[in-house]
Amino acid sequence: MRLTLRVWRQAGPDEDGRLVDYAVDDVSPDMSFLEMLDVLNERLIMEGEEPIAFDHDCREGICGMCGMMINGVAHGPERATTTCQLHMRHFADGDVVVIEPWRARAFPVIKDLVVDRGAFDRIIEAGGYITAPTGSAPDAHAIPVPKPDADKAFEAAACIGCGACVAACPNGSGMLFTAAKATHLGLLPQGQPERYSRAVEMVAAHDALDFGGCTNTGECAVACPKGIPLESIARLNRDVLRATVTGAHEPR
């Protein structure tokens, strides 16, 4: 296949960026999207040009490093698929593919397609943890967890922190990520002590970090490569509301 890639090139955080066209021949349908960029980068290096910077690590859809906007869609056209797991067979010969970084004030561009998703770490610091005794590891089955809760928590725990939800949201809101973390921990017995303070503090951190407000547009859940459902946001809202009304996050 022969493709035209229209790639966002930006030399540094404070530089102006622009879209640059690259013609790529010999794209195999079996390549992943990132492999195709590797091939282009090798050529750019040979030609003495600056290769396109993009984030990646595991290349198997579990680390969350590799997000980019492909033709205006986070992680490209395939549902529930990260960019690294997207194969070129989903494109057609002659296609023009526009590739841009996530765009959000909370995720500043570092270079080309690489953004700083450190804002997510700030949200985690605000409450994405549990209190556990240190020392010898407890028996795995020491605390019983109801199966339905375990399943829901596991579904939410699948969030890889890729940031596609923010990138896809017309409001630039990070509520799906925040809700996934709060749901994951808030459903398990180990997460109960901080359940309400976690919900309140993570949302407060989210709002203080230049993310937009959630209006339930649902773009995030469609873009999410891990299928985190919109209902997680309702769960988070429920805990925040409960805390605000009853003061459940305050000392008794």
Partner: protein, 208 residues
């Protein structure tokens, strides 16, 4: 948003029910405002209830619009650099029309109050005979058109707003989500149908 929207939603339902009295003829319709004003007369005086409702609704409207403007400004601040290529709407179309839809509804509201509450823009403008005002209105195609556009926009607004309010108040979960969306859609369609029944029964001659 959810609370103020909910209060205005209840008003819209009541308003629609009142409008449908037009189908029962001029007496029933003209009687309706008098009945409304008489609610709680002993306690509030004639018309007292209506004024309390007006003040409450105005307050809701102002708070609702303030929250909407704050959200829109936060959204603009959260994405200072726009995408060069914008993707298609993959979530809900109704959700994407909330802001401009809200503006359309607000503009229509201003016209609607000047038309049928104050009577200034009405072809008849006789406040004692709302039935005549309404039927006179809908004989003009442009009034019917503006009204229809506003009502359909309101339908979209309610379709997303009702569901979104339930989601924001934490009522939704995976099992209930689909049902709640269905209910929101059903309610929105019913409200559109209820409001549009009036101009279309005038147009078809059912109401003269």
């Amino acid at each position: 948003m959810a609370v103020t929207g909910g209060a205005m939603f209840l008003f819209v339902v009541g308003h629609m029910a009142g409008n449908l009295k037009v189908l029962f003829g001029p007496e029933a319709f003209n009687e309706h405002p008098r009945w409304l004003r008489g609610i709680g007369e002993g306690l509030l005086g004639y018309g007292g209830f209506v004024w309390i409702a007006r003040v409450g609704l105005l307050l809701c409207l102002v708070l609702h619009m303030t929250a909407a403007i704050q959200l829109a400004r936060r959204a603009a601040a959260a994405r200072p650099a726009r995408y060069q290529r914008r993707g298609p709407v993959r979530g809900s179309y109704a959700a994407r029309t909330m802001r401009w839809g809200g503006v359309i509804i607000a503009l229509f509201l201003v016209y609607h109050l000047m038309d049928l509450t104050a009577g200034w823009l009405n072809p008849v403008g006789d406040l004692e005979h709302p039935y005549r005002n309404v039927t006179a209105d809908f004989r003009h195609w442009y009034v019917t058109l503006a009204y229809t556009v506003a009502i359909v926009t309101l339908g979209f607004h309610i379709r997303h707003g009702l569901w979104s309010a339930l989601q924001s108040l934490g009522a939704s979960n995976a099992r209930r989500q689909r049902v709640l969306k269905g209910i929101a859609l059903g309610v929105a369609v019913l409200i559109c149908a209820g409001f549009l029944a009036v101009p279309f029964s005038v147009l078809t001659g059912l109401v003269k």
